[in-house]
Subunit: 415 residues, 2 copies
């Protein structure tokens, strides 16, 4: 086991392009950046050491295949290696590393699968650079809205299309990455939980029922900018004063719903842009970004409606104009129940306590689930911290995940 | 009178470097910018047309002097022509223009003053570029903290020192702009009100008792950034949720104090910086800027203390760390009572209704008042809108201001 631990430590660092996981600044490998590319190169290197056949598709997804028979079905497992700005070294990487480790373990003990096993390292899962997530798995499953996404820009004004070309891919061929249904039999992803529900429920492995896709709103309040010193209190249309109570309404109302509903809901006012945002001018305009998630689609849409009603009231009571735009409104994704049962059995067999839960965060698996029976496995991460330099998953927890994948591979690929 | 109106219209546009005052984007002449310089050139041109002696001091302040006798005392009047980003065409310009127009009127009617009259066009009054205001009048009155201010940077990282050099001035000589007390007898400024108190009190001219210098606080709340989708509501340390109620506390408490205190107080949460400010991450850190003003220094300092007490309570009730820094805490400036009386008498004589009031905004006069008996005259501006393209003062109101200045000049410079 200690040999496997050493291998894991070494490859974890390799995929993270680092000599130490203890980095105060964390890891920054944005979509289609040289850093993402360098991490992909490490993925290919490790896969080649394991004797896997390595290739890149037209979208830049990396494939490592243990091919036993061209005619045999293929089961796939994957995640990503790109990160947010100053993110952690486990979000994505833990899944890719676990899949590689499971294959290594099977090879080490001389196992011969009856089906092919593909490990996919998806490109550009995080939305940190372009505000668009899971570009690689969208391309793979024919869900990339090419014309629209191609023109989306990062903070430097670079479009996805330009970034893809600069990365060395051919934008005009990106749709050729799409894989027809018969090419895979199933898909599985392992990911860190990015929460604390597994541990809070005294479990070791999370088995995910569904992925709660968000409703996202942009709330824009328009008052009147004016001089802070010369505008009396009774004569103001301060957009910040008008809209600030919404921040607490969203938080309090979400907490209240969790006390009375079975299906969890989370809601966050996560972004703000205030104009003009200078010390001696009353805020004239404000834009809030609100992220609402629940696997219960009705619950999350009702919540968005409540925000609209609340804003209507503010608008009537205070002289500000409020306008609400729905940026995103996707149905949640339910995962394959057969795969969930298999994962449950595997965990029982291995003696790991499981917790059945929803995923509040989106993952590549939500796109893959549209085309193939798919599963999502969570391992705990320390204090639920993610997208942060302090993100951490222990080798013990990663190893448990690897055990589950290894056993799942065996069951799925037996003769 | 219509001839004077035409002259005012023409010179108003000249000082604003424009063919029309109706500009949706307003006016942008930042501190030490080529635009401020071009407006200074227009000031000199107009002054020369009026036969005034034009010069520039070491700080870049423009001087136009009606010199009748080198040995005679000099009374001064001035304001500025720099603006905020997308500001109006009257803040500062109205004062400079009115002073020039009053001199023109006196010259036109053949008046011979017994004292010299100096019109000062101060450099860099607005804090929009560097966060430092009234650089020109600070230099003139020996209040420029040269070492400190020199290293302050704009959003492009350019220091005041570098900007001053690029502007064509000699930074090493800027302190030579300081003027000893005996060089002037008094100082007066005319400015747009940037509020609506004159009109609300059915008056035509505002006579200012004092300038309410701000207390400015920076409030920093630190919670914990985490994934919006995977962090249950009960497990969050959302810095925005923790601190949002402070926005309404500041506004409500200021409104309440105005109902029970004679001396007005205004308080505004005018800036925010939220980290990381991305859709799928719970706000981990937030910084609010608070601007508090009252001529009653005790009242504004008590208000700052109340904010501290309020934040202590938040810190204890919710698991966030709050830390408060006082950025600015200046005593308010009381203006010369004799000049106020003279302005009152002039307005009575002219039949203008006056309103005695405080200035919530800072002006060059607050620096000049430290060295010379000084006065500040307000004229109304439409709906109190300022620092905004819609800023507007009517020719009628500007003309009333000019009448007051002209008569004040006569009284002050009679034999």
């Amino acid at each position: 086991m200690s040999e496997m631990f050493d291998w894991l430590e070494e490859k974890l660092k390799a995929l993270n392009l680092t000599d130490t996981m203890d980095r105060p600044e964390g890891f920054t490998r944005l979509s289609f950046s040289p850093e993402e590319k360098a991490s992909h190169a490490q993925f290919r290197k490790i896969a080649e050491e394991l004797g896997l056949a390595v290739s890149e598709d037209e979208a830049g997804n990396q494939w490592a295949v243990w091919e036993v028979d061209k005619e045999a079905p293929t089961i796939a497992l994957g995640s990503h290696v790109d990160t947010v700005v100053n993110g952690g070294g486990y979000d994505g990487v833990a899944g890719v590393l676990s899949a590689l480790a499971a294959v290594k373990a099977l090879k080490d003990k001389g196992y011969q699968p009856a089906k092919n096993i593909a490990i996919i390292c998806f490109i550009s899962e995080e939305s940190a650079r372009f505000g668009v997530s899971t570009i690689g798995s969208k391309a793979l499953t024919g869900q990339l809205e090419k014309d629209e996404i191609g023109e989306v820009t990062d903070s430097d004004g670079i479009t996805v299309r330009e970034a893809v070309s600069e990365y060395g891919l051919n934008w005009s061929k990106i749709e050729e990455a799409e894989l027809s249904a018969e090419k895979l039999e199933s898909f599985m992803e392992l990911h860190i939980e990015q929460g604390t529900q597994i541990v809070e429920n005294r479990a070791e492995i999370g088995i995910v029922n569904g992925v709660a896709c968000p409703v996202r709103l942009k709330v824009r309040a328009k008052g009147m900018a004016n001089h802070t010193g010369s505008t009396p209190m009774h004569n103001r249309k301060d957009a910040f004063v008008a809209i600030a109570p919404l921040v607490n309404f969203v938080s309090d109302e979400a907490a209240r719903l969790n006390r009375i509903h079975k299906s969890p809901l989370v809601a966050t006012v996560s972004t703000i842009e205030l104009k003009p945002n200078v010390m001696n001018v009353i805020p004239g305009e404000i834009e809030l970004g609100i992220d609402i998630r629940s696997v219960d689609d009705q619950l999350k849409r009702d919540f968005a409606s409540k925000i609209k009603v609340y804003c209507d009231r503010i608008e009537q009571e205070i002289q500000v104009m409020i306008d609400i735009t729905t940026l995103v409104d996707n149905d949640s994704v339910l995962l394959d129940s057969v795969i969930q049962q298999k994962l449950s059995s595997v965990c029982d067999e291995l003696g790991y306590d499981t917790f059945h839960m929803d995923s509040g965060a989106g993952h590549d698996v939500m796109n893959m689930a549209a085309r193939w029976p798919s599963g999502l496995l969570f391992i705990p991460c320390k204090e639920g911290i993610s997208h942060h330099p302090k993100e951490f998953a222990s080798m013990r927890d990663i190893s448990k995940g690897i055990q589950v994948i290894q056993r799942f591979f065996e069951i799925e690929t037996e003769l």
